[in-house]
Symmetry: C2
Subunit: 134 residues, 2 copies
């Protein structure tokens, strides 16, 4: 598995934990280092692992419904990487950026930024319509 | 100037170019490498330097009014870094993440993700009210 594949696997694990409401898995996905932040839709950034995981605990306690990650694209820059992707969370369509750092042999999430999508790009419209919304 | 200061200086230059409508400076801010992407408010990600700069050309041709970067916080991870900050663009309040990569002695922007802020966090509310909106 090369770096790009490993980053995409870590990204997929984030969405698996999100959909499953699995707080333990979510805690493992995130970095244990100092560079942890999260920008939830409609919010400004939260900083720090404890505060970020607390925000996710609240989200995971609810029922998000289906969580789909769409069209993830990974960009690896040394020991850091970012993934751009779409998210279908219940009936909401979002755009996300996930930033990972290499920690030992793992890639851990250091920052998640998700925001509502107001309109689809014409060129990508077909790709961005999740099956459940057809 | 340490890495964190250098990243914050590159971040400030992005906002200076944005407010000034300076397309040449904006082109210099962005990486010339393959890892260029941008998620504008309400949109999904655009990929590639040419397409990203074309999207900015459209923005810079308009008059954004005052552009303020608020509370930037830099996180450096080897040869990559991300900055979380608020943006006041005209009358719009946004949350942004800017991802930089070290290229030679410079830090260049590889990804910008901005999204509308629907509500202010109570704890940070005072910090997030730009002077011009008082």
């Amino acid at each position: 598995m090369d770096d790009e594949e490993a980053v995409l696997a870590a990204n997929a694990e984030f969405y698996r934990a999100f959909e499953a409401g699995d707080a333990a898995a979510m805690a493992t996905v995130w970095s244990t280092g100092p560079n942890v932040a999260c920008t939830h839709p409609g919010w400004t950034a939260i900083a720090g692992r404890d505060e970020v995981l607390a925000s996710w605990a609240g989200i995971l306690e609810g029922s998000a419904g289906r969580v789909l990650c769409m069209d993830p694209v990974a960009h690896v820059i040394g020991d850091a990487a970012f993934v751009t992707c779409g998210e279908s969370v219940g009936n909401n369509l979002l755009a996300a950026t996930n930033f990972f750092a290499r920690e030992g042999s793992d890639w851990r999430l250091v920052h998640h930024h998700a925001s509502p999508v107001a309109r689809l790009r014409e060129r990508g419209a077909a790709r961005w319509r999740p099956r459940s919304l057809n």
